[in-house]
Subunit: 259 residues, 2 copies
Amino acid sequence: MSRWHRTATGHKGGDFPMYVEPSGQDGEAEAGHDPSPCASCAVRADAFCGSLAAPALGELHRLGRKVRLKRGQALIWQGAESTLVGNVLEGVLKMSAMSRDGREQIVGLAYPADFIGRPFGKNSRQTITALSDAHLCVFSRAAFDSFATGHAGMGEALLRRALDDLDGARRWMLLLGRTSAMERVATLLLDAAERLEGAAGKTFALPFSRQQMADILGMAIETVSRTMTRLRDGGVIALPGGRQIAVRDRNALREAAGG
Amino acid sequence: MSRWHRTATGHKGGDFPMYVEPSGQDGEAEAGHDPSPCASCAVRADAFCGSLAAPALGELHRLGRKVRLKRGQALIWQGAESTLVGNVLEGVLKMSAMSRDGREQIVGLAYPADFIGRPFGKNSRQTITALSDAHLCVFSRAAFDSFATGHAGMGEALLRRALDDLDGARRWMLLLGRTSAMERVATLLLDAAERLEGAAGKTFALPFSRQQMADILGMAIETVSRTMTRLRDGGVIALPGGRQIAVRDRNALREAAGG
DNA sequence: CGACACCTTGACAATCCTCAATGTTCGTGG
DNA sequence: CCACGAACATTGAGGATTGTCAAGGTGTCG
């Protein structure tokens, strides 16, 4: 019954201790000019903190720090005390669950403006790992919890986000349970293109390896590869090499994704 | 590419308009004796409202009403304005998503004490249907939202619950993406037994049909049936007939579920 | 240029789905 | 109470998709 491939999430420079940079060190955050550095944050409009007014925002900012992760570095290990929460500023992270016998399933992706971690109480049962070099804005859970408790709007904003995540997870379940390899790959590519493609049809870098795509989609790496090849041969996408990709025929891709 | 079975969720007496019973009609809720009927609620200890103190509880109670659903009746239709939220008091419900071409995937189950519906803002994209006769305590979303906003603890309790659901959804994704038919069926049976079995080894009624199990687990009805037969032949479970089931060898079942 | 990780391709096998037929349960009405 | 029919469940045969194993190709970095 154990027919599962090890997921060999072999990352080149993986799992170094992470480099933490205290907030207010980035030049822009020095006192004086910019009392609320969050104001210039690229993801503020889309992130949970967008709902906060200036004073609360400043307070929150003082609790946070910035973290840079290199590709392959992990932020929260499965089972470990989950003491961090935060926002993704740049890059793509994966949330993965692993069963005792070593099978991995990626259970979520976090793109810029997405919230990660598990506030309030229980620990996360997921490991969070950077798929590309990433830049986060993190808070210790304890500090974040008490801040959130003290600010009425926050609970609602976080809840809204959690419920959105839940909707997303459930759509993904539909994908995992009821779709063919082609539909899965096409859906993932469509999603990635929407988030990462500069302009329609433009070439961009896929942030995942084939192995990671396989882990995300719940299939074997070879099937992913074959499916990509089929899409390329059909003129739907172009694969200039490396991890580059371009969507050539968006409608066909949408079609392949199942409507 | 369209190799999917229609899910033929044919329910015998399905989709009647639901019968709504105003709160405070149940005999026990009459004024006088029992100022807070919630106190005698079977699921209060486990439900989100368990965190509320008496006065708030009374207020909440006045907003709610009880709803009974017959097996097969739907509470919230996919795409429709989601105007209800609530708690399951008794029975089992399913949350399902359906793609345009008619494939159904059940994306969640709600057992007693579970919260259903989508408070705050956006509409649910799921349909909620009773798998067995069910008994709920529901609130209109508008009333519930304003109540929750006005009570500090509520947001946090709801968030906690949403995050738990999210964890659950993600475990389920691991199931859908990375496990064999046997593991899926065994996991579902184990879960159902834990929630519904009176005592260990006792016979109880499975609340789902084979078709529903197939929709939950993302597989074909025949595969479910064959897998159940294998479990029976292996002495792991007993199937006395009807929808009855008993777990004979819990360890073997746990083993089959993948550890 | 060589080593290494990553990706692609092929052949084969296994699981699971599809189609089809038969058996069982349950509710209804005679 | 029994007979009938409809929905539900089981079983079998065959085939399609996907996983597994294996080999070779491509790209990247020192």
